[in-house]
């Protein structure tokens, strides 16, 4: 059964075989330990008070009633943060607990740790926050408008990325067919089965230990340490079995809040978001508006493309700037186009934060470039699959960033595979009689 690997001149013994997953049994038998399955003596339950209002100044927080409640062990607000009240993977523009103002409905304003989940929930409801409402920006156009209210001091433009390859004017001059449209993608959630969750405590050596559902314990450690004012080697983040993430646990989710509560109470604290809190406070897939124009010659060759990408990154950066950048860079699709001009803008709005999600901007780009390809194919009278084969990237050709590809370019191979399936399948072939 062993196949020959030509490059290595010896058979594979394990790689390339569909061996059973090492985590399969634990998962199907319910033995896998997710962070919500962990519990410790004296454990407290954490709960976060969310802003519930998209853009406002915080005028006053009154937590006296919550603090006086039986079973409430601590209530924390921004002023209780021991380190630097800022975090963010790439841009530290987010507050562990809101300071001065809130920028979206999910902004955390206060934390409670209590003896039971019910008490924590009830305590949160007694915290009174007086807000001074600010105008709300709900889309990138408003964010870009002159005189728009600034969501962050530095303004609403997070990142502008440019692609300039060849000469688009000249390229469109050669085009026999030009297709232009605007594509608007919507917001979706990762909707993993396991919501954001974790548990943490201070150990006997004074280390902060956190188990959580995450995508990178090291990146979480870095951000937790800063907010807690601890050195990174005193912060231990462990990934508990994680029930899906898809990019949604790439940014910090519960880790900093758990750290703050465990530090403040000296007791183990569990924090699990329910679905509604996950929906309203955690990151999403970007809504991106893509205007794009493509030109092709009568022989089927693409000659120019131009695009403008507006990404609604929401209230904080997260990884959003990179998502929108990646969208713009991939907007020309897996095709060789000699002349390209793309501008991508990642913008702050008062919507829920948009950050990493499986596909990372390319899911949106593909909707635009594949629609454009079909519309061009239709106007040129070429079968859509063949039209893609004509233009597919290959060894020796360059991407939108002018990167010449030297090896491993599989787009033609995947297209040929699809073609083979269609040609061997009479019912599929009947749709595309022009496929040969």
């Amino acid at each position: 059964m062993r196949e020959r690997d030509q490059t290595r001149k010896k058979p594979f013994s394990c790689v390339g075989y569909s061996v059973p997953r090492i985590d399969a049994l634990d998962k199907v038998l319910g033995r896998a330990v997710y962070s919500e399955d962990l519990s410790f003596p004296d454990m407290l339950y954490g709960r976060v008070l969310r802003a519930g209002i998209p853009h406002a100044l915080i005028e006053e927080i009154d937590a006296r009633e919550a603090k006086a409640m039986d079973g409430v062990v601590c209530v924390l607000t921004a002023k209780d943060v021991p380190g630097i009240n800022r975090y963010g993977v790439a841009f530290q523009d987010q507050y562990a607990l809101a300071e001065g103002k809130v920028r979206y409905i999910g902004d955390p304003v206060a934390l409670v740790a209590a003896e039971t989940e019910e008490i924590a929930k009830d305590a949160i409801k007694t915290i009174r926050v007086r807000y001074g409402k600010l105008p709300v920006i709900t889309n990138p156009h408003e964010a870009l408008a002159e005189g728009a209210p600034r969501i962050h001091d530095k303004g609403n433009l997070l990142l502008h990325t440019k692609i300039r390859k060849g000469d688009v004017e000249k390229g469109f001059g050669e085009a026999d067919v030009v297709v232009e449209d605007t594509y608007k993608t919507h917001v979706v959630d990762h909707a993993y089965l396991e919501t954001e969750s974790g548990i943490g405590m201070m150990d006997k050596q004074g280390n902060l230990v956190i188990w959580s559902a995450n995508q990178c314990p090291f990146r979480d450690r870095r951000q937790v340490a800063v907010v807690l004012g601890m050195r990174e080697n005193k912060v231990r983040v462990i990934r508990a079995t994680t029930g899906g993430a898809f990019g949604g646990k790439d940014d910090v989710t519960v880790e900093i809040h758990i750290g703050l509560l465990a530090w403040a109470t000296g007791r183990p604290v569990r924090l699990v978001l329910d679905r509604e809190e996950s929906f309203l406070s955690q990151t999403k897939r970007h809504a991106i508006e893509i205007w794009t124009r493509w030109g092709a010659r009568r022989d089927g060759k693409l000659c120019a493309m131009e695009g403008r990408v507006l990404g609604d990154t929401g209230a904080y950066a997260g990884l959003g700037a990179f998502v929108v950048k990646k969208c713009g860079i991939h907007l020309s699709g897996p095709y060789f186009i000699p002349n390209i001009k793309v501008d991508s803008y990642s913008l702050y709005t008062n919507n829920i934060i948009a950050s990493a999600m499986r596909g990372f901007g390319v899911a949106q780009a593909a909707i635009a470039h594949e629609s454009q390809m079909d519309e061009l194919a239709k106007r040129l009278g070429i079968n859509p699959l063949n039209f893609r084969l004509i233009n597919a990237l290959d060894v020796g050709l360059s991407t939108a960033t002018g990167q010449v590809l030297y090896e491993g370019v599989g787009i033609k191979a995947t297209l040929e595979k699809i073609k083979e399936v269609v040609l061997n399948h009479p019912s599929l072939q009947s749709y595309w009689k022009d496929l040969t």
């Binding site: 090492i22 409905i105 440019k162 300039r164 897996p334 859509p384």
Partner: protein, 328 residues
């Protein structure tokens, strides 16, 4: 009336972070005195199956069983940093670190085995090391590990793999943005009910170029999961916000496709290897999802001649487009 159509969706995807963002991964392989193996890495398997394929890679290099490896992951006190599980990078980046660490320790073991067996053409297979030309000259992996320890040789190796690229020109965006790219194409067949705007996806044919499938059924699993997610993205899933407030509050309102909605998926693994990947491998996590929505949208256009430019292609949006077309 139900109308049918097919459509294609393609993509390419830059592996990892690119653009000079640090993109590194570490792995550590330790051989115990009895020849059992501990692998430590900060890598995170949140369901995609990386734990299994890394064990396969170490097992491949050392000629041992993959399922006896003690794999310790994602603990900042116990494992070296492998970077995040994102950008479809783990197979490609951490996989290389796994192979490198395994090969480093294998090199040590090889030298011990050469000394003991007096042969150089050694194979590591099925927990044994033997000469290809004189197969009777062999030593068990367990015994070899013991010999290594007795000689005081390094029986733990850490490897670091870095795919960080140079940045591109900020004014033109020109330069080598990514270390390598993955490619995928999918075909969707749909039936559109022109009376209600309902779309039924009848079939997805998915081809993904993964360079080398370390675990084919795992790759197929990724493709199938990606297709289901892409189907929801195209048709039913939507978080609605209004004036900064959230309108979609639970999974009763947020429509993830059920098993009844996901059609038969026909996954095809395409292997165009890349020399910078372990065994030629690239990632598949995101390439599995990206082509699905465009393929469905193109199939809808093929079926009813209507181009959806505003997502999702849900009942109301699609039916509005159908009505507009009828009016024209």
């Amino acid at each position: 009336m139900k109308k049918r159509g097919i459509g294609i969706g393609c993509m390419y995807y830059g592996m990892g972070y690119g653009f000079s963002r640090p993109d590194v991964s570490a792995a550590e392989v330790e051989i115990c005195e009895d020849g059992s193996i501990i692998v430590r890495s900060g890598e995170v398997d949140y369901g995609q199956g990386s734990d299994t394929i890394f064990c396969q890679m170490v097992a491949e290099e050392l000629g041992i069983r993959y399922d006896t490896i003690q794999l310790i992951t994602a603990d900042t006190f116990a494992t070296p940093n492998a970077g995040p599980t994102s950008a479809s990078r783990l197979t490609y980046v951490t996989g290389n670190a796994m192979v490198k660490a395994s090969r480093a320790i294998k090199k040590t073991l090889q030298s011990v085995a050469e000394e003991i067996l007096g042969e150089r053409d050694l194979l590591f297979l099925d927990e044994e090391i033997f000469s290809e030309s004189h197969p009777e000259r062999r030593i068990s992996f367990r015994q070899l590990a013991k010999e290594g320890h007795l000689r005081g040789l390094p029986m733990v190796e850490t490897a670091w793999h870095d795919i960080t690229t140079k940045d591109v020109n900020p004014e033109t965006g020109q330069g080598d943005a990514y270390s390598t790219y993955a490619y995928a194409a999918q075909l969707a067949e749909v039936a559109v009910d022109t009376e209600t705007g309902e779309v039924e996806v009848l079939r997805i044919v998915a081809a993904a170029d993964v360079g080398k499938a370390i675990n084919p059924s795992n790759v197929e699993g990724q493709i199938e999961g990606g297709v289901a997610m892409g189907l929801g993205y195209a048709l039913t899933e939507e978080i609605k916000e209004e004036g900064g407030y959230l309108k979609t509050r639970n999974l009763g309102e947020y429509m993830i496709p059920t098993s009844m909605d996901v059609p038969p998926i026909d996954p095809h693994i395409v292997e165009v290897p890349v020399s910078s990947g372990p065994y030629g491998a690239k990632g598949v996590g995101e390439p599995a999802l990206i082509p699905t929505a465009p393929a469905i949208l193109n199939a809808i256009a093929n079926a009813i001649g209507v181009r959806v430019t505003e997502l999702p292609a849900n009942l109301e949006n699609l039916h509005r487009l159908i009505r507009e077309k009828e009016r024209d």
